[in-house]
């Protein structure tokens, strides 16, 4: 940054600006400096260093480090386990995003219409959100227990056969998605509820006078007015879902047969179990690129739609 005076913003020179704009003040830097210090130390520095590690054969166990060029990148990108972990992450995202957007909308519509149960409904649907992931997974693993669990007991009392839930390759991911939806949908639900409750009453009353049914009001008024909120929730949920790791790790440890191992778990496994920091770092960057691309694509998609 230079010491020369910056050009005056147009608004400062014009008399159109009725408000007093703040004067140039380097004090601002002092206010930002503490955060900036932490940011540089704990985010920027590790990002840079991590990129450096990805070109070395550094091990968490120590030992001499040498430069290996693109070896880690080539190895990661040709590693079928990396791709399957990436696919599992994507599968979780594809299953969980629609579920958690639509479910949140449905629950919020119920709450918005059943006003007299308001407090009770908000408590029930949001309370799971404040549980820690460890508590949530303990409870759901217990309910999913194939022999002693609540779910299979209910199924068997209905004359159906039990399901293996977390212990079967074909049902494990869906089981995780169901548990996640129960746990996390409350946040999306509150966003929808707040948006619904900011829709003015008169809009609905006018529609009622025109003889609109409740369903027509939802379809023609509520849903169109909520499109911005739906966009926001979808973006947040998409980015959140791509980052999935903890609940899956605690419920299945990535099994059975790696069917639920996510990319973050693979990074963790490579770095902290396999002690191979170089490959772990390379994969972390592949994943980071994925997240950034997804964020930007989503953002552009929704900002275009609004125009």
């Amino acid at each position: 940054m230079t010491r020369t005076r910056p050009p005056m913003p147009a608004s400062r020179t014009g008399i159109t600006d009725v408000r007093n704009r703040p004067k140039t003040s380097w004090a601002g830097l002092w206010f930002i400096a503490p955060f900036l210090g932490f940011y540089l130390l704990f985010v920027v520095w590790p990002s840079v260093v991590g990129l450096g590690y990805s070109f070395t054969d550094r091990s968490l166990a120590g030992g001499p480090v040498s430069f290996v060029g693109l070896d880690n990148w080539v190895e990661s990108l040709s590693d079928p386990y990396m791709w399957s972990a990436l696919w599992n992450t994507l599968l979780f995202t594809l299953l969980s995003v629609p579920t958690m957007v639509i479910l949140a909308l449905a629950l919020a519509l119920l709450t918005d219409h059943a006003r007299r149960l308001g407090w009770f409904l908000r408590f029930s649907f949001f309370a799971p959100f404040v549980l820690s992931v460890a508590v949530m997974t303990l409870i759901w693993a217990w309910m999913y227990n194939p022999t002693l669990g609540l779910f299979n007991s209910v199924l068997e009392s209905l004359g159906l056969s039990g399901i293996e839930w977390l212990h079967n390759e074909s049902t494990a991911m869906i089981s995780v998605v169901i548990a996640t939806a129960w746990w996390q949908v409350g946040f999306n639900y509150l966003l929808y509820l707040a948006a619904m409750q900011s829709i003015p009453d008169d809009v609905y009353e006018a529609a009622s006078l025109d003889g609109a049914s409740a369903w027509q009001k939802i379809r023609r008024i509520t849903l169109p007015l909520l499109s911005r909120t739906t966009g926001l929730i979808t973006i947040l949920q998409l980015i959140g879902s791509l980052r999935v790791f903890e609940q899956i790790y605690l419920m299945t440890e990535g099994g059975p047969n790696f069917a639920t191992r996510t990319i973050i778990q693979y990074i963790y496994d490579s770095g902290f179990v396999g002690l191979r920091i170089g490959t772990a770092s390379a994969m972390a960057y592949v994943f980071m690129a994925l997240i950034i691309v997804a964020s930007i694509a989503q953002f552009r998609f929704f900002s275009r739609k609004e125009q």
Partner: protein, 293 residues
């Protein structure tokens, strides 16, 4: 229908008279569905409590039943008697407290700097910091862990807390809120000779109580429930936070389901209490995040 003279904004969470008068079959069905859905949502919590009150022998009865012959607190006694859950709760309180306080201070200072001070390069610096929202913290675990080893902070409260205090998203939210505070207030204070710190402390922050409370609660919940980082940076069970302890060490107690569920219930209690106490702040906080979006 009587025309109401209320403002067009619906009062949140208050029933609307005009609607409530028209209770009919459709409404009954609606309330039944809503009530059942809410009860269904509580089943996992209820089941956990139910299991935790069973004598250990009754947890393994097939098929599972809600009936308890003799409800007992034995499981809670055993869990609390071992003491580790109290230790983990203390660890969580200390590290989460550090995270919350430091995050709030850093965020308020930086948001003020960006909102009220004009200096060359401000826009670039803001973009540089806000861009950090895009970086998933999970991708930094390896270099962060090595950094913590070098700093000698593994298995310490600072090691758990410090990397969690960097949350650019809250600077973004708070700056937008600060931007909305009328300049007249600030100018009035400046006329009285107040410096930047005084303006922040005496003018901006008192006007920002609800949003600061919301941010504080979200930081608290996030840090309290954070699993991956504390899991990596603690190896000593004595230093583990509640989620890490429950998620890892507990597995070693094997299949004492009543005790496992008692631990889960005890682990859930602190935040459920926070939620009940601050429900209004949390709801408006989420709503505020949505409106900004």
């Amino acid at each position: 229908m009587a025309l109401t003279t209320q403002s067009s904004e619906r009062a949140p969470y208050r029933g609307r008279r005009s609607r409530l008068r028209r209770i009919n079959a459709g409404n009954t069905a609606l309330y039944t569905v809503a009530g059942l859905a809410a009860l269904l949502w509580l089943v996992p919590l209820a089941w956990a409590v139910n299991t935790s009150l069973k004598p250990e022998g009754e947890t393994t009865i097939v098929p599972a039943t809600w009936f308890i012959s003799e409800p007992t607190l034995d499981a809670y006694e055993s869990v609390l008697g071992r003491g580790d859950i109290l230790r983990w709760t203390l660890n969580s309180l200390v590290s989460t407290g550090i995270v919350t306080v430091i995050t709030l201070v850093l965020t308020a200072l930086a948001a003020y700097g960006f909102s009220r001070c004009l200096f060359p390069g401000r826009g670039w610096l803001f973009a540089f910091i806000i861009g950090g929202i895009l970086i998933p913290p999970q991708t930094l675990i390896v270099p962060q862990f090595i950094l913590m080893t070098q700093l000698g902070l593994v298995d310490t409260y600072w090691g758990i807390a410090l990397p969690q205090v960097v949350a650019p998203v809250f600077i973004f939210i708070l700056k937008r809120f600060f931007d909305g505070i009328p300049r007249d207030y600030v100018e009035a204070a400046r006329m009285d000779g107040a410096g930047h710190l005084r303006i922040l402390w005496n003018v901006m922050l008192p006007m920002s109580r609800p949003i600061m409370a919301a941010i504080g609660i979200f930081v608290f919940i996030g840090a309290w429930n954070n699993f991956l980082w504390p899991f990596i940076v603690t190896t000593d069970p004595e230093m583990m936070t509640l989620p890490v302890g429950l998620g890892t060490v507990l597995g070693q107690y094997g299949i004492q389901y009543a005790q496992v569920m008692a631990s889960a219930v005890l682990g859930a209690l602190p935040l459920l209490i926070v939620f009940l106490l601050f429900q209004r702040h949390i709801v408006t906080g989420v709503a505020g995040a949505g409106i900004k979006g």
